[in-house]
């Protein structure tokens, strides 16, 4: 949606977008590499760099896919090149592109249609699989997420005990090659429940459950023992046979890649983090609703947490009604490093900004909340050097919002991934426009067209009940 005019006023945004949406009924087209330097003026810039304050009346220049400079108005002479395209957007907010973390975006289309589901693999131990392999670039879901400012994703496969590599993806681009930023962005480990469960779906006794748990933990240990032994053997004899499964754990064992420990309950968090530390790996806790009860452990070991959704029920009946809403604020107050994920279905990733807002309503600082869905998730996906903040040299992956990014009533006006403007149409805007057309054709209602069609059995209509 490039605009040829040099100066481009926000007042015309709505009109421009509507016209475009109606004119282009095809699927969303990824834009070519950024050709023209862009200048955003009079915007409320939220840099999301550590400790940075918002710049209420700021400017940002980006070129060739990267941010060149930013600052407070007025912009200095010659900062932007003479033929730069300018967007003057007073009242608008500019943030880094949001991250959908711990998501299956792209791996699944329609949850209950098995053929569209690539989130899971057979077996308990499949570390060799990578999420990036099957994040369908033409999925209809990511464009909907983009309309909530979500431009990047840390995609997780969801099955197994040692479940495979999460991948950091752009949500724009023609191919998986275009979209993949970091294919091996963490090894997923689903930690077993530590405490026995009493529930109508659980038929096993407490003792049996404990035995299962201990077996599961022992199996995890055995698997990593074997992988480490394999790597030692390979180092000793580089010509030996290769094992794809053990080979895929090299990053974890050499501490280049974190272990993403899926753990919500305090017991899971404690046991899994201690396990990872004992083995010398880099733990990241995913889920983390019980993290406020494990703060000393997490803090002492500098373990980051991905809080996977706060639109969820408290873990226990005895927890406060707002206990989960308050998790981010509690982690922040304790000085923990954490990000926020939606924890929702991939189709509903758009709830992410409002979940951040709810966390703010329950005590989290508003600027920190934004970092929880920009800078921190980018860092946890291993690409914090290029994504997640508005700073010189960083990727121009940006969202221009009509107002407060967290409010549901706010609209994404424009967005860029690596400086390439994102087409903000999606399957839903297409359906919306299609049936707006029906409204136009049918108003006022046509009595002939709208009359009920003749129906079986005929006797019913002739013989109404008295």
């Amino acid at each position: 949606m490039m605009n040829n005019r040099k100066s481009w006023f926000v007042a015309s945004v709505v009109v421009t977008i509507t016209v475009n949406a109606t004119a282009r009924q095809s699927s969303e087209i990824p834009a070519p590499k950024q050709q023209t330097q862009m200048v955003l003026r009079h915007v409320d810039v939220r840099p999301c760099t550590p400790g940075a304050k918002p710049i209420p009346n700021g400017w940002v220049v980006f070129d060739k896919g990267c941010i060149v400079a930013l600052g407070a108005e007025p912009i200095g002479l010659g900062v932007a090149s003479a033929n730069a395209m300018e967007i003057d957007a007073p009242g608008h907010v500019l943030t880094p592109g949001l991250w959908a973390s711990a998501t299956t975006l792209g791996l699944i289309e329609t949850a209950q249609v098995e053929a569209t589901d690539d989130t899971s693999e057979f077996g308990d131990f499949h570390p060799e699989i990578k999420a990036s392999t099957a994040t369908n670039p033409d999925s209809d879901l990511p464009p909907v997420a983009r309309n909530a400012g979500i431009l990047m994703a840390h995609v997780f496969p969801v099955s197994g005990v040692v479940g495979g590599h999460a991948s950091a993806m752009r949500l724009d681009g023609w191919t998986i090659m275009d979209r993949t930023v970091n294919a091996e962005a963490g090894m997923i480990v689903h930690w077993p429940m530590m405490e026995p469960v009493q529930s109508r779906w659980q038929s096993k006794s407490f003792d049996e459950q404990r035995k299962d748990r201990d077996k599961a933990i022992a199996a995890i240990d055995r698997f990593f023992d074997a992988a480490e032994a394999y790597l030692r053997a390979r180092a000793a004899d580089p010509g030996g046979a290769k094992d794809a499964r053990y080979e895929s754990l090299r990053g974890v064992i050499e501490k280049r890649e974190p272990v993403l420990l899926d753990a919500n309950w305090p017991g899971q968090i404690e046991a899994s983090v201690l396990w990872a530390i004992r083995r010398g790996y880099r733990p990241v806790v995913v889920g983390g609703l019980g993290a406020p009860e494990m703060i000393p452990l997490l803090k002492a070991n500098g373990v980051p947490v991905i809080v996977r959704g706060i639109n969820r029920m408290p873990l226990r009946e005895s927890d406060g009604v707002s206990a989960v809403f308050e998790v981010p604020a509690k982690l922040a107050n304790a000085g923990l490093n954490f990000s926020i994920a939606s924890g929702d279905e991939p189709a509903h990733e758009r709830s992410l900004p409002s979940q951040c807002g709810r966390a703010v309503g329950h005590g989290l600082d508003v600027n920190q909340a934004l970092e929880c869905v920009t800078r921190v998730p980018a860092e946890l996906a291993g690409v914090g050097a290029h994504y997640g903040t508005v700073a010189p040299g960083m990727s121009a992956t940006l969202v221009l919002w009509s107002g407060d990014p967290f409010e549901i009533t706010t609209v994404v006006r424009r967005a860029w991934v690596d400086g390439r403007e994102v087409d903000l149409n999606d399957r839903q805007t297409r359906m919306h426009n299609k049936y707006l057309e029906k409204e136009l054709q049918r108003a006022p209602a046509d009595p002939v067209i709208d009359a009920p069609v003749p129906v079986f059995p005929a006797s019913v209509t002739k013989d109404p009940h008295p």
Binding site: Q198, G290, Q428, R442
Partner: protein
């Protein structure tokens, strides 16, 4: 020691000891969202007396003859007040299964028979401003069971929950869910229509036979068999007579049109289309028929029939003249319906004073309770919510929820209640570890035999209706845990028991103090006290 346990109802977390029900309440200087023709009033007062709304306006204090007296005055400066929120699609507090899925028609079953007033989710939803819920049967059969419309009178028993005056309803369902069963008719949307028509035809004939029999002279009656009672057909006959309304789970436009045609033919009006995800494609037809639409604000893509759902659905139906509401269909989402209403603003630009009606007045109309609930107007029930900020804002927190002039949720009272419950837990555990432990009694067998196997019996042990995704079982043989974990467990038990015996609430024990965590602590307690199969 038992004396230390307060007698609450429910006798569980957040149970009510003494209700707060002042004779009159005056909220002053608040922003009042009336959900009526008066719209949103700035710096306004709300006066409540004997459970009813008396007045909304300015300086109501001066209208009180004889002064404030014992009126409870709430300073609403900076706060917002809305009507109590209404959820037109709830499965909360249904004990023992939402679906009766063994047959394709189950009009005879009644949700009201399994209403659970002790479900903690009622309280959690009150804490999100909800005051009324339409408890619906599930969607496994084309003609499902009878609904139950309740007020969230937390702290009362099940007979106090039903909302008197709400029109009886029934759940119908169309589409993928009802044709999923492999061994039962119908197996397609085609069969759904013929099944529904067939049952209505039978209901009509059954009722006609009843009427005919009733009109006979006594000696004629004596000579023939009376028509058999039939709870299924009786329920369907009530629909044909306009005494019961249909709440129909529906997704695709063709199935919505189908049911409209069936209703037109049988001369009844459908109450609501529930979910109604493709309602926008056929909004004019729904408006013509006069059915309501109660949908998700923005769910989609979880089934094939919901790929075309769009978040503009609500606004497009509303614009076509359909009475439209947003519902939860979820224990969790029902805690935050206020921000669901905001999506009517985001998608399509419904004015804010109209958007709030999507979760207040409009569902009240759909349940035919709008003469009592749904808006803040004199004479209506005093169901209202006090918010910390604009209720359509994600930053807003529910501070108080009032039902019939009774305060059923209060943020600060909630905090005190939590402290009370923590003490109660400590007392019970101390009791369990001392007297019961010594006498050898007190064991309930553990594992799954607690109060309805659902909660409460073993405090602190996780309860859940769905298996946690984290629960993994590995089949390979193994050592019995890592040495690390074994050591942790051993240490924690000794340290913990010492602390519990000295009267410390286990919930207050933090890692670092005993090297364990709360859940493992409970675990240890129940190993010792016989929480799972006898005292050791």
């Amino acid at each position: 020691m038992l004396a230390a346990i307060p007698r609450t109802f429910p006798l569980a977390d957040c149970g009510v000891e003494i209700g707060v029900a002042p004779k009159s309440v005056l909220v002053e200087h608040a922003t009042v969202w009336t959900a009526s023709e008066r719209g949103i009033l700035n710096d306004a007062d709300l006066l409540v007396k004997d459970g009813k709304i008396v007045a909304i306006g300015n300086n109501l204090r001066s209208t009180l003859l004889g002064g404030l007296g014992d009126t409870m005055v709430i300073d609403g400066t900076g706060l917002h007040v809305t009507p109590g929120l209404i959820d037109c699609h709830s499965h909360t507090g249904i004990d023992g299964g939402v679906n009766e899925s063994t047959q394709n028609v189950t009009a005879e079953v009644r949700i009201a028979d399994v209403l659970d007033p002790e479900d903690i989710n009622w309280y959690r939803q009150l804490a999100g401003g909800l005051t009324v819920a339409n408890q619906l049967h599930g969607s496994s059969n084309p003609i499902g069971g009878q609904n139950s419309v309740v007020k969230l009178r937390w702290g009362e028993n099940s007979s106090a929950f039903p909302l008197q005056g709400a029109i009886p309803g029934i759940k119908f369902a169309l589409g993928e869910n009802v044709v999923r069963s492999k061994n039962r008719y119908p197996g397609s949307r085609l069969g759904v229509e013929t099944l529904i028509r067939d049952r209505f035809q039978s209901a009509r004939e059954w009722r006609a036979a009843q009427v005919k029999y009733a009109a006979l002279l006594p000696d004629e009656r004596a000579r023939m068999m009376p028509p058999q009672p039939d709870y299924e057909l009786q329920t369907l006959a009530e629909i044909l007579e306009g005494k019961r309304i249909v709440h129909c789970h529906s997704y695709r436009q063709d199935e919505i049109a189908m049911l409209i045609h069936v209703a037109d033919d049988f001369k009844f009006q459908i109450g609501t289309f529930q979910h109604v995800l493709e309602g926008y494609k056929i909004a004019d037809e729904i408006a013509r028929h006069g059915a309501g639409a109660s949908g998700f604000s923005d769910w989609w893509a979880y089934k094939m029939e919901v790929m075309d759902a769009i978040p503009w659905n609500g606004q497009m139906l509303w614009k076509a003249g359909v009475v439209t509401s947003f519902n939860s269909d979820s224990d969790e989402l029902a805690r935050r319906l206020n921000t669901e209403a905001a999506k009517a603003v985001r998608y399509g630009g419904v004015p804010r004073e109209e958007a709030i009606k999507f979760v207040t007045l409009n569902p009240a109309k759909q349940l035919r309770i709008d003469s009592k609930c749904g808006s803040l107007e004199p004479g209506k029930d005093a169901d209202f919510v006090i918010w910390s900020a604009d209720p359509l804002s994600v930053y807003a927190c529910c501070m108080q929820t009032w039902v019939d002039g009774v305060r059923r949720f209060d943020m600060s009272a909630d905090q005190m209640m939590r402290e009370r419950d923590a003490k109660t837990r400590t007392a019970i555990i101390a009791l369990a570890t001392s007297e019961w432990g010594k006498s050898g009694g007190g064991s309930d067998g553990g594992g799954g035999k607690g109060r309805r196997g659902k909660r409460g019996a073993v405090p602190g042990v996780q309860d859940s209706d769905t298996p946690p995704v984290d629960d993994v079982n590995v089949s390979q043989g193994a050592r019995s845990g890592t040495p690390l974990l074994a050591r942790m467990r051993l240490n924690q038990r000794d340290r913990l028991m010492e602390m519990v015996r000295s009267g410390i609430d286990p919930a207050a024990i933090r890692p670092g103090e005993c090297g364990c965590n709360q859940m493992d602590s409970w675990d240890a307690i129940f190993e010792i006290t016989g929480g799972e199969g006898g005292v050791r």
